[in-house]
């Protein structure tokens, strides 16, 4: 396989893996919590690396995922205390974790093969160089395997818990009365977000992951009134964004993840403006029409 094919494949898999949980993050209005997670798993990665000394250890992935879940818990505990507003709670937790991670990385830069630039921005271009070898055979890029597994986990979760995800998102009080504990579903979703962030950080970088999660899901949200269609559109947009992002990045010889983030922002904004149902234009038009109708009725009154 050529390098660009491999990179495109990784990009597509990463994009879908991120976009799937993104659907429910957008619907639940907790995308900034996921942004916090993508920052704090870095601390998990660094700490776990000190112990395992191996960036590819499954133990490192589990440890880092747990730090992501702990972030959610800490944010929600502070929110429940009512001492600060919900968004401020997010804003005071993740910079601390992230700062400690950055300090550790720079302090031990010599010993740790963790580059702060790579962690932040990711480097899809280098992803094909890390190969997955088994029994002496080269089975392709490692991140392709890792992210494919995560993608399958995310897809299975949504498939099996579709009904539960739907009802706990739409009407948590009712769901709880039926016995579908919303808290369990919530933490399961957040665990998958953390796992996805841990898996994707070295190809996409911690800051751009949230865009991969939110953009396609938002496009889906704006284009349809059905949850199933929303999921399909989300996956489709993830594929379109990642493929065109890779192409453009090669064309302009620049960062691939960054370019995909830009394309994602661009397509989402376009849909936001022009979506036939919920777009900006349509909303304005509806408002104007309602206004005209009102005027007409007032005229007939007079």
């Amino acid at each position: 396989m050529s390098m660009i094919t491999e990179i495109t494949m990784i990009a597509v898999v990463v994009a879908i893996a991120c976009a799937l949980p993104g659907v429910f993050l957008v619907l639940r209005g907790v995308t900034m919590v996921s942004d916090a997670i993508t920052h704090t798993v870095l601390l998990g990665i660094v700490l776990a690396f000190f112990i395992t000394q191996d960036l590819n250890s499954p133990l490192l992935m589990i440890g880092a995922t747990l730090v992501g879940v702990a972030t959610v818990w800490l944010i929600e505990t502070i929110q429940r205390s009512d001492l600060v507003s919900n968004d401020a709670a997010i804003g005071i937790v993740f910079p601390l974790f992230f700062s400690i991670a950055i300090i550790l990385i720079t302090l031990y830069a010599g010993d740790v093969h963790l580059d702060e630039d790579a962690v932040l921005m990711g480097d899809l271009a280098f992803a094909p160089f890390r190969r997955f070898d088994a029994f002496g055979y080269d089975l392709g890029p490692q991140s392709l395997w890792v992210m494919s597994v995560i993608l399958v986990i995310n897809a299975l979760f949504i498939f099996f818990f579709y009904k539960e995800l739907k009802i706990t998102t739409f009407d948590p009080a009712f769901a709880a009365a039926l016995g579908f504990t919303p808290l369990i579903i919530h933490y399961a979703l957040m665990t998958l977000v953390s796992l996805t962030a841990v898996g994707a950080y070295d190809s996409v970088g911690s800051i751009l992951i949230v865009g991969f999660m939110v953009g396609p899901a938002l496009s889906g949200y704006l284009l349809t009134h059905s949850l199933k269609k929303m999921i399909s559109i989300t996956v489709l947009m993830a594929v379109i964004n990642s493929i065109s992002g890779v192409q453009l990045a090669f064309l302009f010889d620049t960062t691939i993840a960054g370019m995909i983030a830009v394309v994602t922002g661009g397509t989402t904004l376009l849909i936001l403006v022009f979506s036939p149902g919920k777009g900006l234009f349509k909303q304005q038009l509806n408002q104007k029409r309602a206004h005209n109708n009102l005027n007409k009725r007032i005229e007939t009154l007079i």
Binding site: F161, K163, F170, D171, F174, A176, A177, G179, S226
Partner: protein
């Protein structure tokens, strides 16, 4: 007349952060009756419902349901026989889902974890949507409905639960006349079929027309009984003009 009781609340105390919102409540809701739950804001009505649905853990006391064989059972054991309509405001109305889907959610409790709704479930959902007068709205997006229509969809969802007990948190808040008529007609039907209906209700003017029994609550039970015996000006006054904090003692 002991066999008439559907739900029994026994010495229930509910508190948040050691601040009691319900104090030592004992009540019995009769089977096959429509009961209004009345009280000012912050009187603990919603907390009582939450305790009845196992959503908050009481400090003391318990809520006991009677099953078909008149055995006392907890909410958990009977939850598929209990339908609940939460307050309109607790829901995300921009959620991408259709009216049909929302009604179908009423079947989720019977399905339990993992299982998908089957054809029979869809049939029931369709039938209930017809009952509330919205058969043509099935594939509409829920955000396109008016407040009254939304409330009827919620009622259809509760009907789809095919329960014995219906617990509704202010189903008539802010709805139009037509919706109010439809909802009350359907609730009366349920009662005539021997189902038990509890309604948190705000409009004191309609109490006498709509309900068999009434419970006045303000952190404690002020009065409870048949509407014609219990509903009078003095009790209303006592319920709504009472301002004391149970946490700090008398």
């Amino acid at each position: 007349m002991k066999e008439d009781i559907a739900i029994r609340i026994d010495k229930l105390t509910v508190a948040y952060e050691a601040q009691p919102v319900l104090w030592n409540i004992s009540l019995a809701f009769k089977k096959g009756k429509m009961t209004a739950i009345v009280g000012p804001n912050g009187a603990g009505k919603s907390s009582m419902i939450k305790a009845m649905l196992g959503l908050v853990k009481p400090v003391t006391g318990e809520v006991v349901y009677q099953d078909k064989d008149q055995q006392a059972v907890s909410y958990k054991e009977l939850k598929n026989r209990i339908a609940y309509v939460p307050q309109n405001t607790s829901v995300d109305w921009d959620f991408p889902t259709t009216v049909r889907d929302v009604v179908l959610m009423g079947r989720y409790g019977h399905l339990g974890w993992f299982k998908r709704p089957k054809k029979a479930d869809r049939e029931i959902a369709k039938q209930m949507l017809g009952k509330v007068g919205l058969p043509t709205f099935a594939s509409r997006q829920i955000s396109q409905l008016s407040g009254g229509q939304r409330q009827r969809v919620f009622l259809a969802r509760a009907l789809a639960q095919e329960a014995e007990v219906y617990i509704m948190d202010e189903p008539l808040a802010g709805v139009d006349m037509k919706t109010e008529r439809i909802i009350m007609k359907l609730l009366k039907e349920l009662v005539s079929e021997g189902k038990t209906v509890l309604v948190v209700h705000h409009d004191l003017q309609t109490v006498e027309d709509y309900f068999d029994d009434i419970v006045f609550i303000n952190q404690e039970v002020i009065a409870a009984g048949r509407v014609e015996d219990t509903f009078d000006k003095q009790t209303v006054k006592k319920t709504y003009h009472r301002d004391r904090n149970l946490g700090e003692g008398e």
